[in-house]
């Protein structure tokens, strides 16, 4: 057990931390997306859903603390690995060709920080400083009617999509969850989860901008 506590000192241990905290965050993101679908059921449904969550302060705050710890651990491990990886190359190649790296993998160090800024903005916009406290539906629809705010949400969710696509696939590798029989499906599963969350989340600002959801 003592040894298990020193696991985080290895690079692989840090990756395990990233995979586990990432799994918590993807799980939350999926649940959050399902809750958001109440937007399509109208003002009462969405506000009622928000009310239900706030009526359970113990659950709400436990979730918030868990998420905050997960985000903190994810960023701390990523930062530590990033500084290490920058040093590991030594001198730069004059010519270097990627053979296998996809766009999502290449841009993880971009999509991550973009996501962090987006999450801070999102929390300020709808949780910490809402224009109409208590009326979630109005905050969301009025916000998304502004193309600039919708744009921020669209960019943020695209970054989320790329980040969790590579993240989900990577987590399987990092946690050693592989088997010849289902290895080929790991990428498909990552695409499926990522597509549902990203397309679903993008639909909210687009639906408001298109006038399909109104006050």
């Amino acid at each position: 057990m003592q040894r298990a506590l020193t696991l985080h000192q290895t690079t692989i241990g840090k990756k395990v931390i990233m995979a586990l905290s990432g799994a918590i965050l993807v799980g939350f993101t999926f649940g959050h997306f399902l809750g958001n679908l109440n937007l399509y059921r109208g003002s009462e449904a969405l506000n009622g859903y928000a009310e239900t969550l706030r009526a359970l302060p113990a659950l709400l705050w436990t979730a918030r603390v868990v998420l905050l710890v997960a985000v903190g651990a994810h960023i701390a491990a990523a930062y530590s690995l990033w500084t290490r990886n920058r040093k590991a190359r030594g001198s730069r190649y004059e010519h270097h060709k990627d053979l296998a790296t996809d766009y999502a993998a290449r841009t993880m160090y971009w999509s991550g920080p973009i996501l962090l800024l987006y999450i801070i903005y999102h929390l300020l916009h709808l949780t910490i400083l809402p224009a109409h406290p208590g009326d979630v539906y109005r905050n969301v629809v009025e916000g998304f009617q502004n193309p600039l705010i919708s744009g921020v949400y669209i960019v943020g969710n695209l970054a989320l999509g790329f980040h969790i696509f590579h993240g989900i696939y990577s987590a399987f590798q990092t946690l050693g969850i592989n088997h010849p029989r289902f290895n080929a499906y790991r990428r498909d599963l990552a695409i499926a989860i990522c597509a549902v969350i990203t397309i679903g989340n993008l639909s909210f600002p687009i639906a408001v901008l298109a006038g399909l959801v109104t006050l």
Partner: protein
């Protein structure tokens, strides 16, 4: 395939020693037959350099038949050059066209300091092996072949991992200069075999610790290593190494550690 003669422009990294800054120098490789290997082409260029009284290009090589792991450098940004599952010595000039411009660079990694020109010091790999890539329990002289029965598919799997020749292309191609593929292949190969069980957890811990201590980066699952590996070592081995390390964090080698604790 019919023989052609090629005239090529080479931009080769020249570095006098570990402390030299290094630079690209341009050479012409004239009348190169397509039947030559890449190293034979460099031999021809070197002959000419020697005739001119210049220092030949230094590069590592030994067997020249793709099995020793000595050779290897970047050809146009790809470790071991354009042909998949092939070491630099087995890349033949028929892969190239007349008039091609080729950039030849050494592996670049903090853990692989450049010795001279295209030669890098890969003793970091030796130290990873020294940390646990062996079996130290006495197994006596060569046993009768069927004494320890190992199922065919297990033996095949262990052989897939053991195919790694330690050339270092994985480190060279990895965006993080990670030695994960090499270390994973070596840990996995012994973890699969009965002889490797006694020191299994200790091996995983020590080899990973040494890999980290050498200053290699970590695995971000891009798959560049697998793509350039001349032996086709799979990324699946990295997943297995990760599993082995996590398992080692919760489990001890009964024979090694408990007897040490009891003072036996």
């Amino acid at each position: 395939m019919s023989e052609r003669l090629l005239n090529l422009t080479l931009h080769v990294w020249r570095q006098n020693g570990p402390n030299d800054t290094g630079r690209f120098e341009t050479y012409r490789a004239k009348d190169i037959t397509t039947h030559m290997s890449f190293l034979e082409m460099l031999d021809v260029v070197n002959e000419e350099l020697i005739e001119q009284g210049k220092t030949p290009i230094a590069f590592d090589h030994d067997c020249r038949e793709g099995i020793c792991g000595s050779c290897g450098f970047m050809i146009n940004g790809v470790a071991h050059g354009p042909q998949r599952r092939t070491t630099a010595c087995q890349v033949h000039m028929r892969q190239f066209e007349d008039g091609d411009e080729l950039w030849v660079e050494p592996w670049r990694a903090h853990g692989f300091p450049i010795v001279k020109d295209l030669i890098v010091d890969r003793s970091a790999f030796d130290r990873i092996i020294q940390a646990g890539g062996y079996i130290s329990i006495r197994t006596g002289s060569a046993p009768e072949a069927n004494e320890i029965s190992i199922p065919k598919h297990t033996a095949d799997k262990a052989m897939d991992a053991a195919e790694c020749i330690g050339c270092g292309a994985c480190v060279a191609a990895c965006p993080n200069a990670s030695a994960s593929l090499f270390t994973a292949a070596k840990i996995s190969h012994l973890a699969l075999l009965p002889q490797g069980q006694a020191e299994r957890q200790d091996r995983a811990r020590r080899m990973v610790a040494q890999m980290d201590a050498e200053g290699f980066g970590n695995c971000t699952n891009h798959g560049e290593c697998e793509a350039v590996c001349p032996k086709g070592i799979s990324l699946d081995w990295i997943a297995r190494m990760n599993r082995e390390l996590v398992r080692a964090a919760f489990k001890s080698d009964a024979s090694v550690e408990s007897s040490a604790a009891k003072g036996v």
